[in-house]
Amino acid sequence: MEMLKQEEIKMSQESQTNVMMMENDQDQRTAFRGLEAKNLHAWFGKHHVLSDISLRFPERTVTGLIGPSGCGKSTFIRLLNRMHEFIPSAAMAGQVLQNGEDIYATDVDAAAVRLKIGMVFQKPNPFPAMNIRENVLSGIKLAHLKVADHDSIVENCLTRAGLWKEVKDRLNATGGSLSGGQQQRLCIARSLAVEPSVLLMDEPCSALDPGSTLRIEETIKELAEKIAVVIVTHNMQQAARVSDFCAFFLTDDGPGYLVEADATKKLFTNPSDTRTADYVQGKFG
């Protein structure tokens, strides 16, 4: 696994400056490979819910988004794959760059963007009208992708999601016959079938028991060998276990903002901001 040297940036306490992960010694004018959010704001109608978020998600890393509920973390990741706009009163400002290109530019096909930036939701939701095999292939069918070998895709994705061994003999069973944890892994396999380069996960384990949670965390670490993963979580121990970098969100009854973003180890052992220190020590949240 390619190791990236990380620069740490001290952030000023007064202005709400945001931390950017900088690649070492590289020409800053080279396009950053990966997903990048630049000065993102979000509104629901007149209600300002996210203020000035800038973050980078390098390839082959896991980034955790932590913070108390109501800070806009879910809204933020929905900005990353253009799901935010389905809410009627939604508005945004700023840019989201995928390998240097703004996904919100005019004439960009939002559906194509969502093929490259996938999402797994909090509640496992395999399609009830389809069996396991069809569920995995559903993304391909919905996107009208031309694929030669369906069977190898099914096996490949289920293996990467850590589910192949358990279901390989019953691919025709409905999704509902699986346990909660297995259903969630099926949803992960389904998202992988369209070959995204980033996988967004919105509290994927909060509806699952601890055993399933651990299995999925292992899966996430394996997935990060090929793609970038961004995971919203309320569980700080999970963030500590699974992520390479963490971003801490907070709100003061106004829009959510970024307090600190850094390598996980540093954030949890020696954070730069007292609020971060308080949060990770469980003093509030």
Binding site: E7, E8, I9, K10, M11, S12, S15, Q16, T17, N18, V19, M20, M22, N39, H41, W43, H48, S51, D52, S54, R82, E85, A90, A91, M92, A93, G94, Y104, A105, T106, D109, A110, A111, A143, H144
Partner: protein
């Protein structure tokens, strides 16, 4: 290690919606539709396709062709989406046209006869083919109101009592009552009329307003009873528990705690029941028949009502008769509309 500090903008930018269609796209879409309309009109004029339906069909085909043209440079998925959108829009337009046409026709064609004499006069000395400023439908309106009122007087207490029985008292007959009420809500209206015809009308040897009320009551009762039960079921059990825990007896709980909570719901049930039967024709044809003059006695022989008034005029078929029928239909629609609006207004008060 160099530290890089990125200054953020302290000014909050304006919210934008980059996913919405830009001005340019909107203009292109609008002009495409306008162009399709014009092309369709031209084709219709040239080929002599008749009527509105000819134009509509041409417009649909032209839209599909235009969509196909625009879809050439786009991939399969988006192309399918565009065609499906046109198809769904077309189907919806076809689904909505009949009743929109009815609203429009009723207003436009009924407006001519919508004069004061329509509400006051009767047809005792006028024949249907006379000019519209002669005669009227006052007798029909009064007849309708009377019969519906009587039906409501019968149905409302029975329906509410049934609802209370099913939710509060829950005696041994619960299943039977619910089953019978449910089944009878599907009685065809003509069968209800036939039943009253062979019993009451036969027995009293005459058509009458009361017979009409009975027929309407048969149709109203299941609706009112079912709605009353549903409305009462919505009252949370916590409310009843609180009342019982205070030592109140059942009759107090039901009358003083539960029923006042659903007052608006029950009124809505009554109003919706009325709205349903006010336009019923078939049962009245067999029970109250029709009449040309004002009748105020429910047992005083045949009586007119708005539906039978309109129905009778339709049988005649002359222009003035049909115009009167349209005006009658307009008054009927206005009544239903007023009832619905009242019900919605009252029902809205329940939501706190």
């Amino acid at each position: 290690m160099s530290a890089v500090v990125i200054e953020t903008n302290t000014a909050v930018p304006q919210p934008t919606t980059p996913w919405k269609q830009t001005r340019r796209n909107q203009i292109v879409s609008a002009s495409t539709v306008a162009a399709s309309v014009v092309i369709a009109v031209v084709i219709v004029l040239l080929t002599g396709l008749a009527g509105v339906d000819g134009w509509a069909l041409t417009f649909l085909i032209v839209s599909l062709l235009v969509t196909a043209a625009r879809a050439f440079k786009v991939d399969a998925k988006v192309r399918k989406e565009m065609f499906v959108s046109v198809a769904i829009f077309g189907t919806a337009a076809l689904a909505f046209t009949p009743w929109m046409s009815i609203f429009a026709s009723v207003v436009m064609k009924g407006a001519r006869g919508f004069q004061p004499n329509f509400f006051v006069g009767d047809m005792r000395t006028t024949i249907p083919d006379d000019e519209l400023n002669l005669g009227g439908a006052g007798h029909a309106i009064v007849g309708s109101i009377m019969m519906v009122l009587n039906a409501t007087i019968i149905t409302l207490p029975l329906g509410i009592l049934s609802g209370v029985y099913l939710t509060e008292v829950r005696g041994r007959l619960t299943f039977l009552v619910r089953f019978v009420v449910q089944s009878m809500s599907g009685v065809p209206s003509i069968v209800a009329g036939l039943f009253i015809y062979v019993t009451f009308v036969n027995y009293t040897n005459s058509f009458s307003g009361l017979a009409g009320s009975f027929a309407l009551a048969i149709l109203m009762l299941p609706t009112v009873a079912r709605t009353a039960e549903e409305v009462l079921k919505l009252v949370p059990d916590d409310l009843r528990s609180a009342s019982y825990a205070l030592g109140a007896r059942q009759w107090r709980t039901s009358l003083l705690v539960v029923l006042p909570t659903v007052r608006s719901g029950l009124t809505t049930a009554a109003i919706l029941g009325v709205a349903r039967v006010i336009g019923e024709t078939a049962p009245l044809l067999l029970t109250s028949l029709s009449s040309n003059s004002y009748v105020f006695n429910p047992l005083g022989g045949p009586i007119s009502s708005l539906p039978t008034y309109v129905f009778g005029l339709l049988q005649i078929g002359t222009e003035n008769a049909t115009n009167r029928a349209w005006t009658g239909a307009l008054v009927l629609m206005l009544l239903v509309f007023a009832l619905f609006t009242t019900a919605r207004f009252i029902g809205g008060k329940d939501r706190r």
